[in-house]
Protein backbone atom coordinates (compact mmCIF):
# COMPACT_ATOMS: atom_id res chain seq x y z
CA UNK A 1 0.00 0.00 0.00
CA UNK A 2 1.12 3.59 -0.66
CA UNK A 3 0.32 6.58 1.54
CA UNK A 4 -0.63 9.67 -0.38
CA UNK A 5 -1.92 13.12 0.41
CA UNK A 6 -3.83 15.09 -2.16
CA UNK A 7 -6.70 17.54 -2.42
CA UNK A 8 -10.16 16.68 -3.67
CA UNK A 9 -12.52 19.61 -4.14
CA UNK A 10 -10.33 21.81 -1.90
CA UNK A 11 -10.30 19.25 0.91
CA UNK A 12 -7.12 17.52 1.96
CA UNK A 13 -7.18 13.71 2.00
CA UNK A 14 -4.44 11.42 3.30
CA UNK A 15 -5.08 7.79 2.55
CA UNK A 16 -3.58 4.44 1.70
CA UNK A 17 -4.00 3.28 -1.87
CA UNK A 18 -2.98 0.15 -3.74
CA UNK A 19 -0.28 0.81 -6.40
CA UNK A 20 -2.75 -0.20 -9.13
CA UNK A 21 -5.76 1.76 -7.83
CA UNK A 22 -7.32 4.17 -10.31
CA UNK A 23 -8.66 7.56 -9.31
CA UNK A 24 -12.23 6.62 -10.22
CA UNK A 25 -12.11 3.89 -7.57
CA UNK A 26 -10.58 6.18 -4.95
CA UNK A 27 -13.23 8.83 -5.56
CA UNK A 28 -15.97 6.26 -4.96
CA UNK A 29 -14.21 5.37 -1.68
CA UNK A 30 -14.38 9.08 -0.81
CA UNK A 31 -18.14 9.03 -1.47
CA UNK A 32 -17.91 11.10 -4.63
CA UNK A 33 -20.50 9.62 -6.91
CA UNK A 34 -20.73 12.11 -9.78
CA UNK A 35 -17.80 10.43 -11.56
CA UNK A 36 -19.26 7.69 -13.70
CA UNK A 37 -17.62 4.63 -15.12
CA UNK A 38 -18.22 4.41 -18.84
CA UNK A 39 -15.96 2.57 -21.26
CA UNK A 40 -13.15 2.04 -18.72
CA UNK A 41 -10.64 2.44 -21.58
CA UNK A 42 -10.13 6.24 -21.46
CA UNK A 43 -12.22 6.65 -24.61
CA UNK A 44 -15.64 8.06 -23.64
CA UNK A 45 -14.96 11.05 -21.37
CA UNK A 46 -17.66 10.15 -18.86
CA UNK A 47 -15.19 9.71 -15.98
CA UNK A 48 -13.42 13.04 -16.63
CA UNK A 49 -12.13 14.92 -13.59
CA UNK A 50 -9.71 17.84 -13.36
CA UNK A 51 -6.19 17.31 -12.05
CA UNK A 52 -4.60 20.69 -11.43
CA UNK A 53 -7.38 22.13 -13.61
CA UNK A 54 -6.65 19.86 -16.59
CA UNK A 55 -9.31 17.38 -17.70
CA UNK A 56 -8.11 13.75 -17.49
CA UNK A 57 -9.87 10.36 -17.59
CA UNK A 58 -10.02 9.13 -13.98
CA UNK A 59 -10.28 5.52 -15.18
CA UNK A 60 -6.71 5.72 -16.52
CA UNK A 61 -5.10 7.82 -13.77
CA UNK A 62 -3.38 5.95 -10.96
CA UNK A 63 -4.15 7.60 -7.61
CA UNK A 64 -0.68 6.81 -6.30
CA UNK A 65 0.74 9.24 -8.86
CA UNK A 66 -1.34 12.16 -7.55
CA UNK A 67 0.54 13.11 -4.39
CA UNK A 68 0.25 16.88 -3.85
CA UNK A 69 -2.20 17.36 -6.74
CA UNK A 70 -5.60 19.06 -6.77
CA UNK A 71 -8.47 16.96 -8.03
CA UNK A 72 -11.79 18.59 -8.92
CA UNK A 73 -15.04 16.77 -9.57
CA UNK A 74 -18.37 18.32 -10.38
CA UNK A 75 -19.13 18.53 -6.63
CA UNK A 76 -16.27 21.04 -6.43
CA UNK A 77 -17.88 23.37 -8.99
CA UNK A 78 -21.41 22.83 -7.80
CA UNK A 79 -22.85 26.32 -8.43
CA UNK A 80 -21.13 26.72 -11.78
CA UNK A 81 -22.33 23.29 -12.95
CA UNK A 82 -25.85 24.23 -11.84
CA UNK A 83 -25.74 27.43 -13.88
CA UNK A 84 -24.49 25.52 -16.95
CA UNK A 85 -27.25 22.95 -16.47
CA UNK A 86 -29.85 25.76 -16.81
CA UNK A 87 -28.44 26.67 -20.23
CA UNK A 88 -28.43 22.99 -21.20
CA UNK A 89 -32.09 22.86 -20.23
CA UNK A 90 -32.94 25.97 -22.25
CA UNK A 91 -31.26 24.60 -25.37
CA UNK A 92 -32.59 21.06 -24.94
CA UNK A 93 -28.99 19.98 -24.71
CA UNK A 94 -29.36 17.12 -22.29
CA UNK A 95 -31.47 14.04 -22.16
CA UNK A 96 -30.04 11.27 -20.03
CA UNK A 97 -27.42 13.53 -18.41
CA UNK A 98 -24.81 10.78 -18.10
CA UNK A 99 -22.07 12.79 -19.83
CA UNK A 100 -22.89 16.14 -18.14
CA UNK A 101 -20.48 16.07 -15.16
CA UNK A 102 -17.50 15.41 -17.44
CA UNK A 103 -18.61 18.15 -19.85
CA UNK A 104 -19.14 20.66 -17.01
CA UNK A 105 -15.57 20.02 -15.86
CA UNK A 106 -14.17 20.46 -19.37
CA UNK A 107 -16.06 23.77 -19.65
CA UNK A 108 -14.58 24.83 -16.30
CA UNK A 109 -11.09 23.99 -17.63
CA UNK A 110 -11.83 25.90 -20.83
CA UNK A 111 -12.70 28.99 -18.79
CA UNK A 112 -9.13 29.11 -17.50
CA UNK A 113 -7.94 29.91 -21.07
CA UNK A 114 -6.61 33.47 -21.26
CA UNK A 115 -7.67 34.21 -24.86
CA UNK A 116 -11.36 34.63 -25.80
CA UNK A 117 -13.13 31.29 -26.16
CA UNK A 118 -14.34 30.51 -29.67
CA UNK A 119 -16.85 28.00 -30.96
CA UNK A 120 -13.91 25.96 -32.25
CA UNK A 121 -12.44 25.86 -28.73
CA UNK A 122 -15.75 24.57 -27.39
CA UNK A 123 -15.94 21.87 -30.07
CA UNK A 124 -12.37 20.86 -29.32
CA UNK A 125 -13.14 20.71 -25.58
CA UNK A 126 -16.15 18.48 -26.27
CA UNK A 127 -14.18 16.07 -28.42
CA UNK A 128 -13.73 12.92 -26.41
CA UNK A 129 -16.98 13.41 -24.46
CA UNK A 130 -19.25 10.90 -26.10
CA UNK A 131 -22.92 11.81 -25.94
CA UNK A 132 -25.44 9.40 -27.40
CA UNK A 133 -28.50 11.66 -26.93
CA UNK A 134 -27.82 15.17 -28.09
CA UNK A 135 -25.84 15.26 -31.31
CA UNK A 136 -23.66 18.03 -29.80
CA UNK A 137 -25.16 21.01 -31.68
CA UNK A 138 -27.42 22.01 -28.80
CA UNK A 139 -24.57 21.48 -26.32
CA UNK A 140 -22.28 23.81 -28.24
CA UNK A 141 -25.09 26.42 -28.37
CA UNK A 142 -25.77 26.06 -24.64
CA UNK A 143 -22.09 26.39 -23.72
CA UNK A 144 -21.70 29.42 -26.01
CA UNK A 145 -24.68 31.13 -24.39
CA UNK A 146 -23.48 30.25 -20.89
CA UNK A 147 -19.96 31.56 -21.54
CA UNK A 148 -21.31 34.72 -23.14
CA UNK A 149 -23.42 35.52 -20.09
CA UNK A 150 -20.49 34.54 -17.90
CA UNK A 151 -18.36 37.00 -19.96
CA UNK A 152 -15.80 34.51 -21.28
CA UNK A 153 -16.44 35.04 -25.00
Amino acid sequence: MINITFMVNHRKHSLEVKPGEYLIETLKRLNIHSVRRGCDTASCGVCTVLVDLKPVPSCATLTARLAGKNVTTVEGIHDEAGALADYFGLEGADQCGFCNPGIALSVHALKQQSSPITEADIKQALTGHLCRCSGYVSQVKAIMAYLKDDAHV
Partner: protein, 274 residues
Protein backbone atom coordinates in the same frame (compact mmCIF):
# COMPACT_ATOMS: atom_id res chain seq x y z
CA UNK B 1 -3.16 -4.45 -15.96
CA UNK B 2 -2.34 -5.48 -12.43
CA UNK B 3 0.33 -3.36 -10.74
CA UNK B 4 2.11 -4.81 -7.72
CA UNK B 5 4.37 -1.84 -6.99
CA UNK B 6 5.07 1.74 -8.06
CA UNK B 7 8.67 2.92 -8.15
CA UNK B 8 9.48 6.63 -8.22
CA UNK B 9 13.00 7.03 -9.59
CA UNK B 10 15.09 10.04 -8.64
CA UNK B 11 17.25 9.81 -11.75
CA UNK B 12 17.18 8.24 -15.20
CA UNK B 13 19.92 5.91 -14.01
CA UNK B 14 17.67 4.61 -11.22
CA UNK B 15 14.82 4.20 -13.71
CA UNK B 16 17.04 2.24 -16.10
CA UNK B 17 18.40 -0.06 -13.37
CA UNK B 18 14.94 -0.77 -12.03
CA UNK B 19 13.77 -1.61 -15.56
CA UNK B 20 16.56 -4.09 -16.17
CA UNK B 21 16.28 -5.66 -12.69
CA UNK B 22 13.14 -7.73 -13.42
CA UNK B 23 11.48 -8.78 -16.67
CA UNK B 24 8.07 -7.74 -15.30
CA UNK B 25 9.13 -4.19 -14.42
CA UNK B 26 7.91 -1.58 -16.91
CA UNK B 27 8.38 2.09 -17.55
CA UNK B 28 5.10 3.96 -17.03
CA UNK B 29 4.62 7.18 -19.00
CA UNK B 30 0.98 8.33 -19.30
CA UNK B 31 -0.01 4.76 -18.44
CA UNK B 32 -3.10 4.92 -20.68
CA UNK B 33 -1.96 2.20 -23.04
CA UNK B 34 -0.45 0.00 -20.36
CA UNK B 35 -3.81 0.22 -18.58
CA UNK B 36 -5.49 -1.63 -21.44
CA UNK B 37 -3.16 -4.64 -21.29
CA UNK B 38 -3.78 -7.82 -19.31
CA UNK B 39 -0.25 -8.02 -17.98
CA UNK B 40 0.85 -8.16 -14.37
CA UNK B 41 3.47 -5.53 -13.70
CA UNK B 42 5.87 -6.17 -10.85
CA UNK B 43 6.95 -2.55 -10.52
CA UNK B 44 5.74 0.31 -12.66
CA UNK B 45 8.52 2.87 -12.97
CA UNK B 46 6.78 6.23 -12.73
CA UNK B 47 8.58 8.59 -15.11
CA UNK B 48 6.27 11.50 -14.24
CA UNK B 49 8.51 12.36 -11.28
CA UNK B 50 11.51 13.05 -13.56
CA UNK B 51 11.95 16.37 -15.43
CA UNK B 52 11.19 14.86 -18.85
CA UNK B 53 8.35 17.11 -19.86
CA UNK B 54 9.68 19.94 -22.03
CA UNK B 55 10.13 21.40 -25.49
CA UNK B 56 13.55 23.02 -25.87
CA UNK B 57 14.71 25.05 -28.83
CA UNK B 58 18.44 24.38 -29.12
CA UNK B 59 19.01 26.51 -32.22
CA UNK B 60 19.62 23.83 -34.84
CA UNK B 61 17.37 21.20 -33.26
CA UNK B 62 14.28 21.03 -31.08
CA UNK B 63 14.29 18.55 -28.21
CA UNK B 64 11.05 17.11 -26.84
CA UNK B 65 11.21 15.34 -23.48
CA UNK B 66 9.69 11.88 -23.62
CA UNK B 67 7.08 12.72 -20.94
CA UNK B 68 5.70 15.71 -22.83
CA UNK B 69 1.97 15.10 -23.26
CA UNK B 70 0.30 15.19 -26.64
CA UNK B 71 -1.73 18.23 -25.54
CA UNK B 72 1.46 20.09 -24.62
CA UNK B 73 2.83 19.24 -28.06
CA UNK B 74 -0.34 20.37 -29.78
CA UNK B 75 -0.23 23.79 -28.13
CA UNK B 76 3.51 24.49 -28.23
CA UNK B 77 4.48 27.34 -30.59
CA UNK B 78 7.94 25.94 -31.40
CA UNK B 79 6.42 22.65 -32.52
CA UNK B 80 3.75 24.48 -34.50
CA UNK B 81 6.56 26.13 -36.45
CA UNK B 82 8.34 22.88 -37.36
CA UNK B 83 7.70 21.31 -40.77
CA UNK B 84 4.51 23.28 -41.31
CA UNK B 85 3.14 22.23 -37.91
CA UNK B 86 2.38 18.63 -38.97
CA UNK B 87 3.16 17.14 -35.56
CA UNK B 88 0.78 19.55 -33.81
CA UNK B 89 -1.90 18.82 -36.41
CA UNK B 90 -1.40 15.06 -36.10
CA UNK B 91 -1.64 14.92 -32.30
CA UNK B 92 -4.66 17.24 -32.21
CA UNK B 93 -6.60 14.52 -34.05
CA UNK B 94 -5.99 11.87 -31.38
CA UNK B 95 -9.05 11.39 -29.17
CA UNK B 96 -10.04 14.27 -26.84
CA UNK B 97 -8.11 16.79 -24.76
CA UNK B 98 -8.62 14.67 -21.63
CA UNK B 99 -6.69 11.74 -23.07
CA UNK B 100 -4.12 14.04 -24.69
CA UNK B 101 -3.45 15.55 -21.24
CA UNK B 102 -2.32 12.10 -20.13
CA UNK B 103 -0.64 10.30 -23.02
CA UNK B 104 2.94 11.12 -23.90
CA UNK B 105 5.05 11.33 -27.01
CA UNK B 106 7.53 8.87 -25.49
CA UNK B 107 4.80 6.33 -24.78
CA UNK B 108 3.48 6.64 -28.31
CA UNK B 109 6.89 6.19 -29.93
CA UNK B 110 8.13 3.33 -27.74
CA UNK B 111 4.82 1.45 -28.05
CA UNK B 112 5.34 1.45 -31.86
CA UNK B 113 1.58 1.24 -32.45
CA UNK B 114 0.77 0.37 -36.05
CA UNK B 115 -1.85 3.13 -35.99
CA UNK B 116 0.47 5.75 -34.52
CA UNK B 117 -0.30 9.25 -35.79
CA UNK B 118 2.89 10.45 -34.13
CA UNK B 119 5.47 8.14 -35.68
CA UNK B 120 4.39 8.84 -39.27
CA UNK B 121 5.03 12.63 -39.16
CA UNK B 122 8.15 12.17 -37.01
CA UNK B 123 9.64 9.92 -39.70
CA UNK B 124 9.30 12.68 -42.27
CA UNK B 125 10.71 15.23 -39.81
CA UNK B 126 13.94 13.19 -39.64
CA UNK B 127 13.49 12.61 -35.90
CA UNK B 128 16.10 10.95 -33.74
CA UNK B 129 15.54 9.27 -30.39
CA UNK B 130 17.84 9.60 -27.42
CA UNK B 131 17.78 6.66 -25.01
CA UNK B 132 19.45 6.73 -21.62
CA UNK B 133 21.81 3.75 -22.27
CA UNK B 134 21.85 3.28 -26.03
CA UNK B 135 22.33 6.95 -26.87
CA UNK B 136 20.94 8.53 -30.03
CA UNK B 137 19.49 6.51 -32.90
CA UNK B 138 17.24 7.42 -35.80
CA UNK B 139 13.53 6.72 -35.46
CA UNK B 140 13.73 4.42 -38.50
CA UNK B 141 16.49 2.35 -36.86
CA UNK B 142 14.41 2.10 -33.67
CA UNK B 143 11.38 0.86 -35.63
CA UNK B 144 13.51 -1.94 -37.10
CA UNK B 145 14.43 -3.29 -33.65
CA UNK B 146 12.22 -6.23 -32.69
CA UNK B 147 11.11 -7.10 -29.15
CA UNK B 148 10.68 -5.26 -25.88
CA UNK B 149 12.52 -1.96 -25.31
CA UNK B 150 14.77 -2.36 -22.25
CA UNK B 151 15.97 1.21 -22.14
CA UNK B 152 14.46 4.54 -21.14
CA UNK B 153 13.65 7.02 -23.87
CA UNK B 154 14.80 10.43 -22.70
CA UNK B 155 13.98 12.73 -25.59
CA UNK B 156 13.09 13.09 -29.25
CA UNK B 157 15.28 15.33 -31.39
CA UNK B 158 13.97 17.10 -34.48
CA UNK B 159 16.17 19.19 -36.78
CA UNK B 160 15.03 22.79 -37.28
CA UNK B 161 14.84 23.41 -40.98
CA UNK B 162 13.12 25.58 -43.48
CA UNK B 163 10.51 23.05 -44.49
CA UNK B 164 6.95 22.46 -45.58
CA UNK B 165 4.76 19.62 -44.40
CA UNK B 166 1.47 17.84 -44.99
CA UNK B 167 -0.33 15.37 -42.75
CA UNK B 168 -3.54 13.44 -43.36
CA UNK B 169 -5.29 10.95 -41.10
CA UNK B 170 -8.08 9.00 -42.77
CA UNK B 171 -10.65 7.56 -40.35
CA UNK B 172 -14.13 6.11 -40.40
CA UNK B 173 -15.22 8.23 -37.44
CA UNK B 174 -13.58 11.27 -35.86
CA UNK B 175 -12.04 9.50 -32.87
CA UNK B 176 -11.16 6.18 -34.46
CA UNK B 177 -7.69 4.83 -35.25
CA UNK B 178 -6.54 5.69 -38.75
CA UNK B 179 -7.31 3.54 -41.78
CA UNK B 180 -4.09 5.09 -43.03
CA UNK B 181 -2.12 8.19 -42.15
CA UNK B 182 0.16 9.98 -44.58
CA UNK B 183 2.89 12.52 -43.98
CA UNK B 184 4.85 14.37 -46.66
CA UNK B 185 7.56 16.95 -46.05
CA UNK B 186 10.09 18.85 -48.06
CA UNK B 187 13.26 20.40 -46.62
CA UNK B 188 16.80 21.13 -47.84
CA UNK B 189 17.49 17.37 -48.19
CA UNK B 190 14.43 16.90 -50.37
CA UNK B 191 11.09 15.14 -50.04
CA UNK B 192 10.14 12.65 -47.34
CA UNK B 193 7.03 10.50 -47.60
CA UNK B 194 5.76 8.18 -44.87
CA UNK B 195 2.61 6.10 -44.56
CA UNK B 196 1.34 4.55 -41.32
CA UNK B 197 -1.52 2.41 -40.09
CA UNK B 198 -1.00 0.19 -43.14
CA UNK B 199 -2.11 -1.31 -40.61
CA UNK B 200 1.47 -1.83 -39.51
CA UNK B 201 3.58 1.03 -38.23
CA UNK B 202 4.63 4.07 -40.28
CA UNK B 203 7.35 3.58 -42.85
CA UNK B 204 9.23 5.84 -45.22
CA UNK B 205 8.50 5.30 -48.92
CA UNK B 206 12.12 5.20 -50.08
CA UNK B 207 11.47 4.46 -53.76
CA UNK B 208 9.03 7.34 -54.08
CA UNK B 209 11.40 9.67 -52.27
CA UNK B 210 14.38 8.55 -54.40
CA UNK B 211 12.48 9.16 -57.60
CA UNK B 212 11.59 12.71 -56.59
CA UNK B 213 14.87 13.64 -54.97
CA UNK B 214 16.91 12.58 -58.01
CA UNK B 215 14.72 14.44 -60.47
CA UNK B 216 15.91 17.72 -61.94
CA UNK B 217 12.39 19.09 -62.20
CA UNK B 218 9.50 17.83 -60.15
CA UNK B 219 6.34 18.08 -62.20
CA UNK B 220 2.97 16.43 -61.94
CA UNK B 221 4.18 13.33 -63.81
CA UNK B 222 6.87 12.71 -61.20
CA UNK B 223 4.34 13.28 -58.48
CA UNK B 224 1.88 10.79 -59.99
CA UNK B 225 4.62 8.20 -60.36
CA UNK B 226 5.93 8.75 -56.83
CA UNK B 227 2.41 8.44 -55.39
CA UNK B 228 1.91 5.25 -57.38
CA UNK B 229 5.25 3.85 -56.15
CA UNK B 230 4.40 4.60 -52.52
CA UNK B 231 1.09 2.75 -52.90
CA UNK B 232 2.64 -0.11 -54.87
CA UNK B 233 5.85 -0.76 -52.97
CA UNK B 234 4.95 -0.20 -49.33
CA UNK B 235 3.37 -3.25 -47.71
CA UNK B 236 -0.32 -2.95 -46.87
CA UNK B 237 -2.76 -5.49 -45.50
CA UNK B 238 -6.38 -5.92 -44.43
CA UNK B 239 -8.01 -5.38 -41.06
CA UNK B 240 -11.55 -4.50 -39.97
CA UNK B 241 -10.93 -0.80 -40.71
CA UNK B 242 -9.99 -1.26 -44.34
CA UNK B 243 -8.74 -3.68 -46.97
CA UNK B 244 -5.28 -3.73 -48.49
CA UNK B 245 -6.68 -2.50 -51.81
CA UNK B 246 -8.51 0.40 -50.15
CA UNK B 247 -5.38 1.42 -48.26
CA UNK B 248 -3.37 1.38 -51.51
CA UNK B 249 -5.93 3.59 -53.22
CA UNK B 250 -5.98 6.04 -50.30
CA UNK B 251 -2.20 6.15 -50.21
CA UNK B 252 -1.87 7.06 -53.87
CA UNK B 253 -4.42 9.87 -53.49
CA UNK B 254 -3.05 11.40 -50.29
CA UNK B 255 0.62 11.08 -51.15
CA UNK B 256 -0.13 12.97 -54.36
CA UNK B 257 -2.03 15.68 -52.47
CA UNK B 258 0.79 15.93 -49.98
CA UNK B 259 3.44 16.27 -52.66
CA UNK B 260 1.44 18.95 -54.43
CA UNK B 261 1.05 20.81 -51.13
CA UNK B 262 4.78 20.89 -50.35
CA UNK B 263 6.16 21.09 -53.92
CA UNK B 264 6.73 24.85 -53.85
CA UNK B 265 9.18 24.42 -51.00
CA UNK B 266 11.21 21.95 -53.15
CA UNK B 267 11.25 24.35 -56.05
CA UNK B 268 12.40 27.19 -53.80
CA UNK B 269 15.24 25.27 -52.15
CA UNK B 270 17.76 24.96 -55.00
CA UNK B 271 16.13 25.88 -58.24
CA UNK B 272 15.28 22.43 -59.60
CA UNK B 273 12.16 23.97 -61.04
CA UNK B 274 11.81 27.54 -62.23
Amino acid sequence: MKVNGLFKPKTLDEAYHKLTEHSKNVVMAGGAWLRLSNRTVEEAIDLSVLPLSYVKDRGDVVEIGSMTTLHEIETDDTIKSLYGGILSQAVSQIMGIGLRNVVTIGGNVVARHGFSDVITPLLTMRAKLHFYKRGTISLEAFLDIRGKTTDVLEKIIIPKRKAAGYFKKVTKTALDFAIINVSVTCDEEGFSVAVGSRPSVGQLAYEAMGLLNQAKDVDEKHIDLAAFKAADLLKFSDNHRGSQAYREELTAVYVKRGLLAVKTCFNQRGGHDD
